[in-house]
């Protein structure tokens, strides 16, 4: 009996579920695809916070051209095929007007070539693979977040200033880690041909948990500078283990390309070493503009934390859509796309320009040196170095984009 009920419930649930298709008039629907489950779900949560905040702000001040924002989240689970199916679901089943999202480069690279079939604009807010606005670029896809090329160009500029010549890396053993090192190395070589890049860099497997062998190896190799592209939980593990082994007291400079991410600084607290160069896609204290101050204050009030870069990216994307739609005075996908090209958007991370040639935003890079400050529960950046987007963004020719 129980079994019958169970199965009938499941069947009924499925039947009802698939026929539900409520589309309220007078709303603009945004579909967002992020990592919502598993080890990296914190990034999806951040993005959700950003969208929620932006949507509520916009809705309470009249919406976009009078339409309220409604958003639907889907889980990419970090797998490209899941992300692609989620995008189809958002467009065909949920009837969304606009798409945004993507944390993982792998998902982005898989999904981007499929977006033209869906015929909706898509703003990427996190995934950093250069190819997405490079060799794989297309009319529908935009990115407003810092990509690998931009961030590593900033890192290379710092490395040049530091003046040390012998560099190695510790990065996760997947495409992001390898690409970060390639880009960093190439930029640095251009800036300073005398630089020597390690022939035997360290790529611990992703989610390795134990970085001790790599820490020991780098210490014993005695480089002059170490470029670290680990991120998230890996970076936290790495820093704690490195602290124990005196890694940060060695005679080499350390650059962490994603070291100023708030989820890392929050977890580590005073375990985060001071005096280290760290980068991030957005730093909450980097811009003293009304847009940023309002965002940080509203975010802190609502979620009790300093906003993460991923919240900022999602927040900015919603506003980018708003700006574009108001410029286009239309909800037609093609018109929105046209409006997004060459659009200047005022975001918490500063003004950014979405280039028409490759749809990559020319966006500032944020770096700084970690410092303890008793007014903050986390390490902050002092001094902060902001690299203007135009100085660190490769030209459209360099990015390899061929729009149609």
């Amino acid at each position: 009996m129980l079994r019958k009920l169970l199965v009938m419930a499941v069947v009924a649930f499925m039947a009802i579920g698939f026929s539900l298709d409520a589309q309220a008039e007078g709303t603009v629907k945004i579909g967002a695809i992020y990592l919502l489950s598993g080890a990296f779900s914190t990034y999806g949560q951040f993005a959700k916070n950003g969208i929620e905040l932006a949507a509520d702000e916009i809705n309470s001040s009249g919406g976009i051209l009078g339409k309220k924002i409604e958003f639907v989240l889907e889980d990419s689970t970090g797998k490209a095929n899941v992300g692609i199916q989620a995008a189809r679901k958002l467009v065909y089943q949920e009837n969304v007007d606009l798409l945004m999202g993507l944390d993982s480069s792998g998902v982005a690279k898989g999904l981007v070539p499929v977006v033209p079939e869906l015929k909706k604009p898509f703003i990427i807010t996190h995934a950093a693979s250069p190819d997405v606005t490079g060799s794989l670029c297309n009319k529908y896809v935009f990115r407003i977040s810092l990509n690998i090329a931009q961030n590593t160009k900033a890192a290379a500029l710092i490395a040049k200033e530091l003046g040390v010549k012998k560099w190695t890396t510790i990065g996760p053993d997947y495409d992001f880690g390898h690409q970060s090192w390639e880009f960093f190395g190439n930029y640095l070589k251009e800036l300073d041909p005398e630089v020597v890049l390690s022939a035997d860099p360290s790529f611990p497997k992703f989610k390795a948990e134990d970085f001790t062998p790599f820490i020991n190896k780098v210490i014993s190799d005695k480089p002059e500078g170490v470029f670290i592209s680990l991120w998230g939980g890996d970076l936290i593990n790495f820093i704690r283990q490195a602290n124990n082994l005196g890694f940060f007291k060695q005679n080499f400079k350390v650059l962490m390309s994603l070291g100023a991410a708030t989820e890392v600084l929050t977890a580590l607290g005073d375990q985060m070493p001071e005096g280290i160069w760290v980068g991030t896609r957005y730093w909450f204290a980097a811009n003293d503009t009304p847009t940023n101050n309002n965002f940080v204050a509203a975010y802190k009030k609502r979620f009790g934390d300093y906003p993460s870069y991923n919240s900022q990216g999602a927040y900015a994307a919603v506003y980018a859509y708003k700006t574009a739609i108001e410029k286009a005075k239309s909800f037609e996908p093609d018109k929105i796309i046209a409006a997004l090209e060459n659009l200047t958007v005022d975001t918490p991370s500063g003004e950014l320009l979405i280039r028409a040639e490759d749809h990559q935003a020319v966006v500032n890079g944020n770096w700084g040196i970690t410092k303890a400050d008793k007014n903050y529960p986390i390490r902050i950046l002092d001094p902060i170095r902001i690299f203007p987007g135009k100085d660190i963004t490769p030209t459209p020719q360099e990015s390899g984009c061929n729009m149609q």
Binding site: K205, P213, N216, I219
Partner: protein, 289 residues
């Protein structure tokens, strides 16, 4: 650093990783040996141990030493309920149902932890006494790691003594060898199974609590551990307790030395190791046919 110190560092690293794996995998192998269930949710219980400790130390404000004792007991209690109300219903079915049921538990516990503690990262501070590093043969190594190695050895000896030198141990082994016979001579087999599952979970959670000061706490942190534990028990011999030690040290060695000298192969070395053992001695290095 010369080759010698690099070697010692890798060796220490192997023990550090291996002993922790041993604590966790021994729970898995004991549960398999007695209940015949390969517990997919074992890694989730490891995670629960770490998060329980986080709350006991953070919200409740217990010192590490108390928390590390209590957190695993809490998880063991949870496991007892799982055994009593869920697992018990499927012992008579094909082993694949055990795998499926514990997989469902993995999904539930993973998400429940995320709902309760959030999706962000957390760390647990080691106790004051164990902060910093010590030097051994010219190698600097975290003090806390020496502590986990010591704890692992103590736990190993204690568990071995329980199984081989006490009445309880004999009862459990009898129940594992022939449940019907054991029942006939007056052993309450269902209770034995409950206790053993709780004990296995206790070991997993203890591993989690001990790992907490070394590892980042985050969602799904048990997912890598569970596969590593499978590899350990297969290399050592399914159901063999000494095998779990042996297998854990081998896998620790693979990580310690492979991580140092064969890093780009690191994602596959454990599997190559497991395949070689299975082809050479399918029953595992210490297992019985």
């Amino acid at each position: 650093m010369n080759l010698m110190t690099a070697f010692v560092a890798a060796l220490l690293n192997s023990f550090d990783i291996g002993i922790l794996l041993f604590i966790i995998a021994s729970g898995l192998t004991i549960v398999f040996g007695v209940l015949g269930i390969l517990n997919f949710a074992h890694g989730a219980l490891y995670m629960a141990g770490a998060y329980f400790l986080l709350t006991l130390m953070g919200t409740v404000g217990m010192p590490f030493w108390v928390g590390v004792l209590i957190a695993p007991l809490g998880v063991a209690l949870l496991a007892v309920l799982i055994e009593r109300f869920l697992l018990r219903r499927i012992y008579h079915r094909h082993p694949s149902f055990g795998l499926l049921l514990t997989f469902a538990l993995l999904l539930i516990i993973d998400d429940a932890v995320r709902l309760i503690w959030g999706s962000g990262y957390h760390i647990v501070e080691p106790p004051q006494l164990l902060r910093g590093a010590a030097s051994l043969f010219g190698v600097t190594y975290p003090l806390y790691s020496f502590f986990t190695i010591g704890m692992g050895i103590l736990i190993g000896i204690a568990v071995w003594l329980i199984f081989h030198r006490t009445r309880i141990g004999k009862t459990v082994r009898a129940a594992a060898l022939d449940p019907e016979m054991a029942q006939a001579v007056g052993i309450n087999v269902p209770i034995v199974l409950t206790v053993v599952f709780g004990f296995g979970a206790w070991l997993a959670a203890l591993g989690g609590a001990l790992a907490a000061p070394m590892r980042t706490l985050g969602p799904a942190m048990g997912d890598t551990i569970i596969i590593e534990s499978f590899i350990v028990v297969v290399i050592g011999g399914l159901g063999s307790f000494p095998g779990a030690l042996f297998g854990a040290l081998i896998l620790g060695g693979i990580h310690g030395f492979g991580g140092r000298w064969l890093a780009e192969w690191n994602i596959v070395l454990p599997y190559i190791g497991m395949a070689l053992v299975l082809l050479w001695r399918p029953e595992g290095l210490m297992g019985r046919r």
